[in-house]
Amino acid sequence: MTIGDARIRIPDRIARGDLIIVNAIVAHPMDTGFFRTAEGQPIPAFFIKDVVVTYGDEQVARFEWTSGVSKDPIVSFTLTADKEAPLTMVWTDSKGGVYRQSVAIAFAAA
């Protein structure tokens, strides 16, 4: 995976009103700035600092992170699936890189 590749996983079948679990991962080194390369060069801090979660038009969550979150950060949270709309996550890193991923929340026929 290259930096910024992201994946959002939601259940295959969702009914209106379900409390679903959303799992997300983004590829990122999450460098703390405390490590050095094998040649002794310091590796500067480089990490995801902000994650915004939008469901339809509504911002439903925002996460502020530091380099203390592990490499290739994962996050999991719940969501009440009460409308058919895209779920979008935008990760922003400490060098201004912006990474976006969306999944469609749609209801299975009964």
Binding site: L19, T32, F34, A61, G68, V69, I74
Partner: protein, 170 residues
């Protein structure tokens, strides 16, 4: 709404059952004293002391002089983390997520990390519940604090003591 003692005892019971199932209980004095006192039964025992000025300032900036209640939040972490680069964290709360009353933020603080205020999760009622999972880095053995703030300004905390074998912060 369930009362906190019921919930925490139920959770504790589940966790103890899980540990017993894995054969971890009673086999290792370290696990038993550290794990069951802190990581497993997070809602018992005294609050961990504030270790340094940095953590004191973070708590003061976030919560002022408001009391930190114990309950309504659980922090699940391993009692022993072999690799400090990847330590799993599960945070849950039994508090409602309705338009009038909801958990508006969860803060994760690792006492002895270089940057102790590791993450802040800003939430809304649309999430339906508080059930967060992530993976974090830990520098060394320390207390971890998960502290939530409700829309009405109440503050609830849970603590876990984690023994770290390999420094994950450099």
């Amino acid at each position: 709404m369930p009362q906190p003692p019921e919930t925490s005892s139920r959770r504790s019971f589940l966790r103890i059952s899980a540990l017993a199932g894995l054969g971890l209980l009673g086999t290792n004095g370290l696990l038993q004293s550290q794990g069951s006192a802190a990581g497993v039964l997070g809602s018992t025992g005294p609050d961990p002391e504030i270790p340094n000025e940095q953590v004191a300032r973070i708590l003061k900036d976030l919560f002022g002089d408001r009391p930190l209640g114990k309950g309504h939040i659980s922090l699940d972490m391993p009692a022993v983390a072999e690799d400090g680069r990847i330590v799993p964290v599960i945070i849950e709360s039994d508090l409602p997520m309705t338009a009038d009353h909801y958990v508006k933020a969860v803060h994760l603080i690792v006492d002895h990390n270089p940057d102790p205020h590791l993450a802040a999760y800003h939430l809304t009622p649309a999430l339906g519940s508080v059930a967060l999972q992530t993976r974090i880095k830990m520098k060394r053995t320390t207390w971890v604090r998960a502290i939530l703030e409700t829309s009405t300004g109440d503050v609830w905390a849970a603590y876990a003591h984690v023994i770290v074998s390999l420094n994950g912060c450099g």
